[in-house]
């Protein structure tokens, strides 16, 4: 029999630390800081509205772009909170999570041989999505020295004639780094000078602490060359609902829509109904979750630094990204030993690409009690090293 697996599928690297994750599954009494999703339940009013709509028989396809009411509500929401101008008629697509939005955005703009720059450390799917689209993923390193912001000089070093687009994600998974208006403007100049497209994944935008999120496409010179991705998973604790959205000027949006209609048709209607309720009346629920993450962050970062794991203060998302360099262990060794010796699960930073090595990702989307317990165990681990 032939080997049916395509070259592209073969090209995607399997996770190098699969065994490590499998080990976590078999262990008991593990405090896991490895989970990249909120520990809260979806606010009940959101669940209720979705349940009610199912009872009313709202179970069919929606338009490819998604419910008009949801797109209009998003259009208003984005204008109000992020000064973004996208028409609900033809510049917003409701996607099946940001994951799908990312995929169709990349496929809409990538030709074979195109180089797609990726600010790293980054979420694990960016590179493989570029590979699957026939492009070449080019990492651009964000460093702790720069508070994990994208440094324009490091970006410039990686730009070639083949560069087509740049993918950024701020607030960032896994570092918690954010880019404010000033930081983005410095990058915008390069993007414009080299005629690049910007794909900005802002799924953690609502989880920005101590300041307001600034959206890349709010820079007027960037708006026409930016695809903004966002979703409901993180801010509203709706990960399993799989509702995200892609916003872009009509021409780009139309191209992404063609792919979306063939591969996904539309996002699940019950999720869209829930998302509409989230926008309409879940501000207080969202704010109280965000406030809780902020308290946990303060507590956890203080704790990490106290036990000797130096950690910059993440300004967004719900991840701490401390350095383990001082311990003399690699990030993978550190994570493996911490799991085996103290039963605390964290993710080695190298999973997230360039700039992630020598760091570990700790998600603080767990209760304060679990965070205290994790810190207690990590302190023991550090003392015994």
């Amino acid at each position: 029999m032939r080997d049916f697996i395509s070259e592209r599928a073969r090209e995607i690297p399997p996770s190098g630390i699969r065994k490590f994750f499998d080990l976590v599954l078999t262990m008991e009494d593990v405090v896991s800081l490895g989970v990249g999703e909120p520990d809260f339940r979806t606010p009940w009013n959101i669940c209720e509205s979705s349940i009610y709509s199912i009872e009313q028989g709202t179970t069919s396809y929606t338009s490819n772009k998604g419910l008009q009411s949801l797109r209009d509500a998003l259009s208003r929401h984005l204008a109000k909170y992020y000064q973004l101008q996208y028409s609900g008629d033809d510049e917003i697509i409701i996607t099946t999570g940001v994951s799908e939005g990312l995929d169709i955005a990349i496929r809409a703009v990538t030709d074979p041989g195109d180089e797609i720059l990726i600010a790293q450390p980054s979420y694990v799917s960016y590179g493989p999505c570029v590979t699957l689209a026939g492009g070449k993923a080019v990492p651009v390193r964000c460093t702790e020295k720069d508070h994990f912001k994208l440094n324009p000089d490091l970006l410039a070093e990686q730009i070639t004639k083949k560069s087509k687009a740049l993918i950024i994600n701020f607030p960032n998974n896994p570092t918690g780094g954010v880019m404010d208006e000033c930081d983005l403007k410095a990058v915008a100049d390069l993007v414009i000078d080299h005629d690049l497209l910007l794909i900005s994944d802002e799924v953690y935008s609502e989880l920005t602490y101590d300041k307001r999120h600034f959206s890349a496409a709010a820079i007027s010179d960037l708006h026409d060359r930016t695809i903004t991705l966002n979703g409901f998973s993180k801010a509203y604790a709706m990960t399993g609902w799989r509702i995200g959205y892609l916003c872009a000027p009509k021409k780009l949006c139309d191209a992404a829509l063609k792919i979306h209609q063939y591969v996904m048709l539309c996002a699940p209607v019950m999720g869209q109904v829930g998302a509409l309720e989230a926008l309409r009346s879940s501000e207080d629920e969202k704010n109280s979750m965000v406030n809780e993450y902020r308290l946990r962050r303060n507590m956890f970062i203080t704790g990490l630094n106290r036990i000797g794991l130096s950690c910059h203060v993440p300004e967004g998302a719900f991840y701490a990204f401390p350095s383990v360099k001082e311990t003399g262990l690699s990030d993978v060794e550190f994570a493996e030993r911490l799991l085996k010796e103290q039963r605390v699960a964290v993710v080695p930073g190298s999973v997230f690409g360039a700039g992630g090595e020598d760091h570990i990702r700790c998600a603080y989307a767990v209760s304060r009690k679990q965070l205290s317990e994790a810190l207690r165990r990590m302190e023991l681990f550090m003392q015994e090293l």
């Binding site: 994750f21 976590v24 599954l25 593990v30 896991s32 490895g34 989970v35 990249g36 999703e37 520990d39 339940r41 979420y123 694990v124 799917s125 998974n173 406030n291 308290l295 946990r296 303060n298 507590m299 203080t302 704790g303 699960a345 993710v347 999973v351 997230f352 304060r368 205290s372």
Partner: protein, 163 residues
């Protein structure tokens, strides 16, 4: 009262057993400042006391509660205040409110059993001057008290890892 005080109050309302040190790490204040602020809030009676939410039914020591609606004739110069204060002195009265609508005062009363509650109402509340009418509603089952669900909620399953 500033934003930090409000934050302390929200944290303490949710869990008053946290130490000053623990609260300090969450709020980026010094522990001594947390203590000073909490003392000031106590002194100002903004923090009235620290109590515990207990599911007494689960403790095998269920109490009976009743909501009692009172129609009251208000007093010249005092309105409802004097009678409300008199009523509130009874240990059995856990909550007392002046309401809009078809009745005036609402009491939440607890007792060891139904007899105790009904004796309290008939012997102490109903005969009071100025109380024109009482209606007693016995609580059959409580599902949520002060924001705390009293029914078991299954743990949601999460993957041990996701990126």
């Amino acid at each position: 009262m500033d934003e930090k005080d409000l934050e302390l109050l929200r944290i303490l309302e949710e869990n008053s057993r946290l130490s000053a040190e623990e609260i300090a790490t969450m709020t980026s204040l010094a522990a001594a400042e947390v203590e000073a602020r909490v003392h000031a809030l106590e002194a100002a009676q903004v923090i009235m006391r620290y109590s515990t939410v207990i599911n007494w039914e689960k403790a095998g020591n269920g109490e009976v509660s009743a909501i009692i609606e009172l129609k009251v004739s208000p007093e010249r110069d005092f309105g409802y205040d004097r009678i409300a204060e008199r009523l509130s002195r009874f240990r059995q009265v856990r909550t007392l409110r002046l309401m809009t609508g078809t009745y005036d005062l609402q009491l939440i009363v607890t007792g060891k059993n139904m007899q105790e509650v009904s004796r309290f109402v008939s012997e102490h509340v109903a005969p009071m001057d100025r109380i024109r009418e009482t209606a007693t509603h016995i609580v059959m089952k409580s599902y949520k008290e002060n924001g705390n669900a009293l029914f078991e909620q299954p743990e949601t399953e999460r993957l041990p890892y996701s990126f």
